[in-house]
């Protein structure tokens, strides 16, 4: 079975004036289908940068990333966007819903992009599933943080992704909402059989995945398999 995500010798650095700032260095790991995976580490360790690179949101400074069997380095920005639309789902710490779209419209955008004529029905079903069947036409500003994150989850699963990236999904939520969101995320993931990568500070959450790596100073400090 070929891996869904295969990272080899990945590095990322930024130039600020004359200085070169190394964010990530010599990162290697791979993920198989339906595997759940966590990236943990302290603030500024480079975990969000790593997530962005894995999802093709940014360019690498060195090394290769293969996502769903495609070398991201060989794709231009638009091809990467289309690949994301077909294979990838996202959940962000600050939800990142489009403020001018209703909950339902936010959920169905990835499907509409694929030209799916059944988008609206799928969107409604997903929102029912996350408990927001009554809030279909509400704008993000009319929803609480927990509700917004549930809409974001519905959007993430709407295009039936092969792999789902979650960046601190509970970071902006209170404890109870956080717990509910995590439960929902893992349940949906299990049901859909999606590969899941979660970036988090929360060790409790990380331990609920099958595997995790700890990043420190831009390098993999530790790799663990959870029970």
């Amino acid at each position: 079975m070929s891996p869904i995500l295969n990272i080899k010798n990945l590095s990322k650095s930024f130039k600020t004036g004359d200085q070169v700032l190394k964010i990530l260095e010599d990162i290697n790991f791979s993920l198989n289908e339906q595997e759940t995976f966590a990236i943990v580490g302290p603030s500024g360790s480079g975990k969000t940068t790593l997530l962005g690179l894995c999802a093709g949101l940014d360019d690498t400074s060195g090394g290769t990333i293969e996502l769903c069997g495609v070398d991201l380095g060989s794709l231009n920005e638009d091809e990467r966007a289309i690949l994301r639309n077909q294979k990838v789902g996202f959940i962000f710490q600050d939800f990142q819903l489009l403020p001018s779209l209703t909950a339902l419209e936010n959920v169905i955008v990835p499907l509409e992009l694929q030209g799916d004529k059944n988008a609206s029905a799928v969107g409604k079903e997903l929102l029912e599933k996350v408990g927001l069947g009554a809030r279909l036409n509400h704008y993000p500003s009319q929803l609480s943080g927990g509700e917004q994150q549930r809409v974001a989850m519905a959007r993430a699963f709407s295009n039936r992704p092969t792999i789902l990236f979650a960046d601190e999904p509970t970071g902006n939520l209170d404890e109870e909402s956080g717990k509910n969101v995590v439960k929902l995320l893992l349940d949906l993931n299990k049901e859909a059989g999606t590969t899941l990568i979660i970036v988090t500070h929360d060790l409790e959450l990380a331990k609920q995945t099958q595997r995790m790596i700890v990043i420190k100073g831009g390098k993999i400090f530790k790799e663990e398999t959870n029970a």
């Binding site: 949101l57 794709l75 966007a81 639309n85 077909q86 962000f92 990142q96 779209l101 990835p110 030209g115």
Partner: protein, 847 residues
Amino acid sequence: MNQLKSKTQIGWLLKMAWRDWRSSRKKLYLFIASIVLGISAVVAIQSFGSNLKVKIKADSKSLMGADFIIDSRQVPTEKVLKIVDSLGYKAREINFASMAFFPKNEGSKLIKVSGYEGLFPIYGEVKTRPITAAESYKTDKGALVDATTMLQFDLQLGDSIKVGEVTLPIVGALKSVPGKSAISASIMPPVFIPFELIGQTGLIQKGSRVEYQFYFKTDELTNLKRLEKELLPILDLESADLDTHVSAGKQLGDGYNNFGKFLNLVAFTALLLGCLGIASATNIYIKEKNKAIAVLKCIGVTRKQTFLIYLFQIIFIGFIGSLFGTILGVGLQQLFPVLLGDFLPVNVSFAVIPSVVLLGLTIGIIMSVVFSLYPLISTWFVTPNQVLRAQETAGKKKKILGFIVGPIVALTVFLFSYLLLGELLYSLIFLGGIVVVFTLIRLIAGIFIKLIKSLFPKKWSFPARQGLSNLFRPGNQTITLILCIGVGVFLINTLYLAKDALISSTSFQKNVETPNILLLDVQKEDIKAISKTIQSFNQPVLDQIPVIAMKVHSINGVRATTLKEDSTNGIKNWVLDGQFRASYRDSLVKSESLLDGDWIGRVDDVEVIPISIDIGFKKAAKLEIGDRIEFNIQGVLMETEIKSIRKIEWSQMKMNFSVIFPEGALNNAPQTNVLTTQAPTDEIAAKMQQKLVMAHPSVTVIDLRSVMGLVENILSKIAWVINFLALFSILTGFIVLIGAVRTSKFQRLKENAMLRTIGATSKQIFKMTAVEYIILGILGSIPGTTLSFIGAQLLATYSFKTDLIVSWIPLFLVPGLVVVFVTFIGLANNRKIMKTSPKEILRNGSV
């Protein structure tokens, strides 16, 4: 990789554009308002111009009263008479300017006397009161007098009018004559008398300025162009002319075109100012959308698709703005016949012109897109990674973007100005002017901000320092606001100063030596008697100037008719067409100076006569010293050579001539004289005119004061139209200003809320805002005012040939009011912020 192709339909992109616009439309109302007025001004002027042209074309026959006219400013030669007889004229007219005397109240006025024989007008109608008078005056042996003149002199039907030696009863009031505008009638009001009485007036003498016109009707098959081409050279030799209704209509249309072009420019400038508002609004709008763009890219929307989502929004907004502007413009065009009615020979009716509506919509949409191009293209550079962390778009890419967008904006402005002006050079000058003004104001704004930064007053109070530093904080709108204020002040002031300079260029100096009464058509033998009449009022005869009527027959051996056919030689038509008046004297006068060559004041019996021409004539006829002109003086050809070039100060209102012959060359040529004098009061002027008209009916008396009153009246009407259009620029400027200040509100919102959270009082925030906007107003007004004075000085010097009139309105009042207005908008804007709780702002990000 074939799988990685977007399946997205255009319909979805439109749907996304609509969804995005739906929740943000409030922010874009001012965007729409910015272009509404500019578009409406362009559409109104274009619609009016097109309707006028259509009307002139449709009415060209009734404007002329015939299909074509043959006219001569001298008694028609036998050859001319043969031609008009063979062509079979339907009507003929003899007309001349003369003084009319009204015995009822002993009033006198310069009028245009016409006598018609036959069917006039062939097309159109002469409107009179009573209606039947239009025909019955001929049999009743009465006169038809211009209706306004009758009102002025309190004349009733049955009162008398004396023209020359003839006294007639007034049998009708002339309400309108084909092809005559209210203005031309007010300069020289028309009076019709029976044709057979023309001779009895005794006013047709040798050298009198009499016009003989023959009116013709043709069938539809007659090729008027060919007729003109064939007959004109023959008639020209006989000092006669031929005008067809087509060419006359075209001339009328061209006459409006020049003024229309100027009005178009004023309107287009209002639109450009609005575009500045569009650029500013879109810039902020797209900046606020950066995060949403990053999210869209993150979930799979391509760069092209993102660009299109926002492009469609701009097209939609541009369309809405243009639609409102076009509707308003179509309605406003009805105002122009009211404003310009006196200048028009036809009644322009209201009509919606599809091509103008299309132009309005196209200009609005294209300008909206072009002026939004910079922020629109910048969506291309938003990376999906901005979802994870905010990052600035690379400066290098932005600079490249600027280099691409700048020329596109310039080219669009140039193309539209060319479309409206129709002249390459003027369009380039207009574009150059706009670029220079924008660049200078931008540069000055930049320098001011650098100066404020480097000389920052550290000892000022906290609110004042905070307000001042808001000018160069990230996300500031300083440059946009200064540009907007500066260009607005520049436009308002330049129009104001130009209007003043234009009016001053035509007003004459009222000193003792300046004549204010001109006596035309004075025959040699009458000079003594007329001088005596003038002296009986204790006034001197200031000048006695001989006047000889002539036409250009050939230039450097090439016949005028041949030169006229060649449109590439650059010689103006009026040089070759018209009969103009020259004089002779032995010395230069005060109002002129020698530019080049030698002044020759006297000659005795030479074959080639040395002449002097003025610089305007030199340019119009493309002449140099040494060139030869052959003049036709009432049938006699006279060879001349240009020996000197003069510059005439036309604004001095002296009797000046483009061509001056030396003493001795034309002394025996058929001539009339002009005498000038000075009447110190209106009463003396009226009495002098009355006595002169009674004693010397053939003499035409012109009271320059009333002429100047008329000119000033015309200019004030023109100024009114200009001011009316300037109002569009001013209102647009205000809208753009409100828009720019409102957008800057979103930048300041959280900052002020934060300041209030940590304890800043409303008074302190009020002070900060006041300082910021007062300085913004001043920074915009200073370059705007300075540039307007430079612009107006250039206009005054090179265009109006006059001095700049510096008055306190453009210097202090306009900039002062603008500063107050800017501060008011800024403070009004902040009031809402101050009324809302900081918690609400920090939580929602908006009020």
